[in-house]
Symmetry: C2
Subunit: 641 residues, 2 copies
């Protein structure tokens, strides 16, 4: 059945609100009128052809709008964003409206063919691609300049007229998801496919990685326990543990790529074509011609950006690193003081005091990491990168370097300058455990508690004794719009990255680290799930095919850990005793082993294919088909001649 576009003009009777738009209080009437007209206008007139309704609450209209779309509009949008869905023959294909009948579960009246998260992603995409035509400015706001092709929503956001856009929760679905995810005590996998349907691929992939990483740590934890229980200090055993650790960390990172390919193939994102990247919202510059698109848009000199990076950001980062090292030296003074105190008055209290400097230092590290994070965001945003990906890369690089040094500098210093293995073990344990507790508290429990308190107050204010289920749409929207915004998986991956550092860098000194990591990750899964479902606004789904730059970060960490572990083993008295005659031989042997291990690592990374054989075959099949189709086209065209 070919419906006509005019069908979309009338508001459907079963309007389903998907996305909420909140405009600033006191936004001018003419602006609202123009904006809503653009949203519902026909595609041919440059509109988004969506449905929009103001939200009517007890207090009247509050500049909150609900956006939805007809079923047909969503299907056409799915083609525009290039969604990949499963066909009836179980292969994954890019969805097109004309081939819709070949897809699994497709029926003209099946409104669940696209998941709610997909519908919301499509609406977000359509809204963001609502572009200015001949408008020179946003009506009513002469200072908010527009130029042909500029995204209207982005300009509204940067000029503060648009407060936020967020997707609505689906109370029923969320309840189901919560139940299967963390609602009951059970041993088993997370419902990754359900998470993906509800929150999208980026978040599902993070939870997939978290789960995989936890499982991957279990062998290390199991092997690590007897070292603690039996107090093994035997040389052979340490070497065995470290070697296993190093090879294992390479294997798990390679295997993750394969599992990631399996997951994202099933979800369709492995096959999704990259969209052309538009400038990020914060990017500004003078109007000029973009050499790539040939369109008029703001351009910013690459030289100026380089100057900002190298003359301001780089010195600032160096200063921060210096400051972090300075704090570290203070920590060592404290440590010395605690040791002296313990020596002078030996008591239970004084031996407890030995741990205090480490705990204080761990807290300070966490605080510094968080402050630096804001500074890095500010600086990177000031560098004025044109693309979001370039912004992200510069931000991640800045944050990773600082966090790495901030967290591990003291451990490196203790290990390779002070040569104090006892202190290293104690310091490592304190840092790891303290940072885990702080993180769990600051990231999930505290916001959860605040949110709960707020909700209670909200409900009281609304003078209703209803449960969540009975909330009206208006109440739901009002509650959700006040919730915090989930800022992406960055912090979560960063936490895992630092944990991986604690586990692998000095693994042979403190085999128990893996045990703590496993325990932490199990609670982390639950607290992160809680965070996603209860604390934050629902985030927009974001299709992704891999964990991006984090794969590289984890691999780099695993290379560094080969070096540190080899040195640590070389320094242990047991190994020392094996080379009584010549320290030279010891060092040379260690260097040789290190090089061999590195070589093995690189060869393993090269030999293990990144995608499982069946995924490779499926991809090859799709490529073959598209090449054949192209050939057929060329042939058909040539036949016409």
């Amino acid at each position: 059945v070919m419906e006509s576009w005019s069908f979309l003009d009338t508001v459907e009777s079963n309007f389903r609100p998907l996305v909420v738009i909140e405009l600033a209080k006191g936004t001018k009437e003419e602006t609202i009128e123009w904006f809503t007209k653009r949203i519902v206008d026909k595609k041919a007139n440059g509109g988004a052809q969506l449905l929009i309704k103001p939200l009517v609450t007890e207090n009247g209209v509050e500049n909150i709008y609900l956006v939805g779309a007809s079923h047909l509009r969503l299907l056409l949008g799915a083609e525009t964003v290039g969604l990949v869905k499963e066909c009836s023959d179980n292969s994954m294909r890019t969805f097109t409206y004309s081939s819709r009948k070949t897809f699994k579960h497709f029926a003209d009246d099946n409104h669940n063919f696209l998941t709610m998260a997909e519908c919301q992603y499509i609406i977000k995409h359509e809204l963001e691609n609502l572009r200015a035509k001949n408008e020179k400015m946003i009506p009513g706001y002469p200072q908010a300049k527009l130029y042909p092709g500029k995204s209207i929503v982005r300009r509204l956001l940067t000029s503060g007229i648009l407060v936020q856009i967020f997707p609505l929760h689906d109370r029923e679905e969320l309840k189901k998801l919560r139940h299967s995810w963390y609602g009951r005590v059970k041993v088993g996998y997370q419902p990754l496919d359900d998470i993906r349907c509800y929150f999208g691929e980026t978040i599902a992939l993070y939870f997939g990685f978290l789960e995989y990483f936890t499982f991957a740590l279990i062998p290390m934890a199991v092997i690590g326990i007897p070292y603690y229980v039996f107090a093994w200090e035997d040389y052979d055993k340490y070497v065995m543990f470290a070697t296993f650790n190093l090879l294992w960390s390479t294997v798990i990172l390679e295997v993750w790529k394969r599992i990631c390919a399996i997951l994202t193939y099933r979800w369709g994102t492995l096959l999704m074509k990259r969209q052309f990247e538009e400038p990020r919202p914060g990017f500004h510059g003078v109007l000029g011609i973009n050499p790539v698109t040939g369109r008029e848009e703001p351009v910013y000199s690459s030289l100026k950006r380089q100057l900002r990076i190298y003359l301001v950001s780089l010195p600032f980062v160096c200063l921060c690193l210096y400051f972090s090292l300075y704090v570290m030296m203070i920590y060592f003074d404290l440590e010395q003081w605690a040791l002296d105190y313990h020596k002078e008055n030996e008591s239970n209290f004084s031996s407890l005091m030995l741990y205090v400097p480490s705990i204080i230092y761990a807290v300070v590290i966490e605080i510094m990491n968080r402050i630096y994070r804001y500074a890095a965001e500010f600086l990177t945003s000031w560098e004025n990168h044109r693309l979001e990906s370039s912004y992200q890369n510069h931000l991640i690089l800045k944050v990773l370097v600082f966090n790495f040094l901030n967290c591990f500098a003291s451990l490196f210093y203790i290990a390779f300058v002070l040569f104090d293995m006892k202190l290293l073990r104690q310091s490592l344990a304190t840092l790891l455990i303290t940072s885990q507790i702080l993180n769990q508290f600051a990231e999930s429990l505290l916001p959860y508690w605040l949110q709960k308190r707020y909700n209670r107050r909200m409900k009281k204010r609304m003078c209703s004794q209803k449960t969540d289920k009975d909330l009206s749409l208006a109440e739901q929207v009002n509650m959700e719009k006040e919730m915090g915004t989930y800022l992406g998986t960055f912090d979560d991956y960063l936490e895992l990255f630092l944990q991986f550092g604690y586990v692998s860098l000095f693994s042979c000194v403190y085999p128990l680290a893996a045990v703590f990591a496993v325990l932490n990750n199990i609670t982390e899964i639950y607290s992160d799930a809680l965070k996603m479902c209860r604390v934050y606004k629902r985030p927009f789904a974001e299709p992704t095919a891999n964990i991006g730059v984090w794969q590289l970060a984890f691999e780099t960490m695993s290379v560094i850990s080969v070096v540190t572990n080899c040195i640590l083993i070389g320094m242990s008295p047991q190994v020392d005793a094996l080379f009584p005659d010549s320290k030279m031989d010891l060092v040379l042997t260690v260097a040789l082993v290190e090089h061999l291990l590195l070589a093995v690592k690189f060869i393993m990374a090269f030999v293990i294919p990144d995608k499982p054989r069946d995924i490779q075959m499926k991809l090859a099949k799709l490529e073959f088909e598209s090449l054949e189709a192209l050939k057929q086209q060329v042939r058909a065209f040539q036949m016409q001649l």
Copy 2:
């Protein structure tokens, strides 16, 4: 003007022979008839729609056929193979017949729009894609089985009915190319664009790399000369030389990627889409269903191949490596004997005798490399790889590992077991120079001389006193078909790879190596050019966008050379003297420096972009355009609804 396909049916009056097909003597009439019919048959009937003419010589018909094509047919073929040409607005675009008017230098009567090499490549592609329909066998040869979709030409080749297919030289063009390439003594660049037009991108890229590599070695050679002239044995200077060498070798490999991108963008191959890879000619197996294409074709169990690789090839390679090490030990015995002889009767003759073992060993190495090469080819072919790329990768891996060990094992042994720097220098010099002389002789001069002698005899037999220019087509074909076949750039790259090893692995011991490498490469350019133009049959052009696995091989060599050079510097007595108290400190310092250098290398490789900015912009522009076009298509389709 839309010409009809029937236009192609009539043999054009200006038939231009492009490709020669030589069938075996005594090929059955019915086979010839069937084959030529398939070649000239219409595309709609599954033919190649080319033109074919038997070659008539004084001795009558000799089963040699000349293949050509009409201008229109070649243009359509250019679209099929996906050639990328320059447009009138200087951008590079995939050629399509319908957009032909937008391309630079295109005119309906300009038969030089496609270069001769491109025409020959198109004809080769069309011939290879001539596929069996319902034939179960080649008519007249029941043992030469066919199945639907099997390439006819490949079956004819493997069953020996088709002796060879090769493109004809263009005497006029070749003369011009020879003149500008090596005909006159001049200092300057090679005419890479002309080489590319005549021989195709793979060969032009090899000569481009050879030239670039020679230029890149010049700074190393210039810095190396004073070390020899002034006999500098100073520690600082060696360290400086080695450090410069290491960073320089990283820089030149990274910069090559950029230059390669510039060259291949200009030639259009950077943008060419990868074609679907068909099974290689030698691949055999039982008929089955290919899971990727869904077609019936021979399949061969992957398990069987793995067994062949790990149970036969791997042990064989190990055996060869062992044998090579055994020969090396014999060389050291010889070396010892020569030294003893020199000590007993000191004379000019005896000091000359000191070099004899190295020279003999160098010759033996060369011979072993060549024998092993054949064995490796045989084994890899027996492993029965389905794809040419997989075959090539396994072959290159086998050959590289063996050649590396064969050439450098003795040097490693001298350096790191015997610690004899004087012998290392002498051995390195002898190996390098001898192998260079042998290579130049065996690869170019010997075949050239043989070819010359053969040509003279041919001409005498034909009882003609004509010069090259006046040769009739028949005489030209007869002469060219007897010439050797150029087997690809493998050996040439391998030679450069080993040379790079000699120059970089032990650079701080023998700074003069770079000088010899430069001298060798200058003559190498000339002798390789001579080889291409005079000794071998013209090879088919092969589009390529980079030097492939060789980039990786060179980069690996450069990583290994960091390790060797650091150790060598650490072992030098001058550095030793800097750490009089503790050998430990020396070793630790060397290890630290090595790790820093490796880190710098990886960071440099990461930071230097693989493509220059303007090429990146042009590629982004093309991508943007194609995405826009796709969007327009989707939009246009949606408008119709």
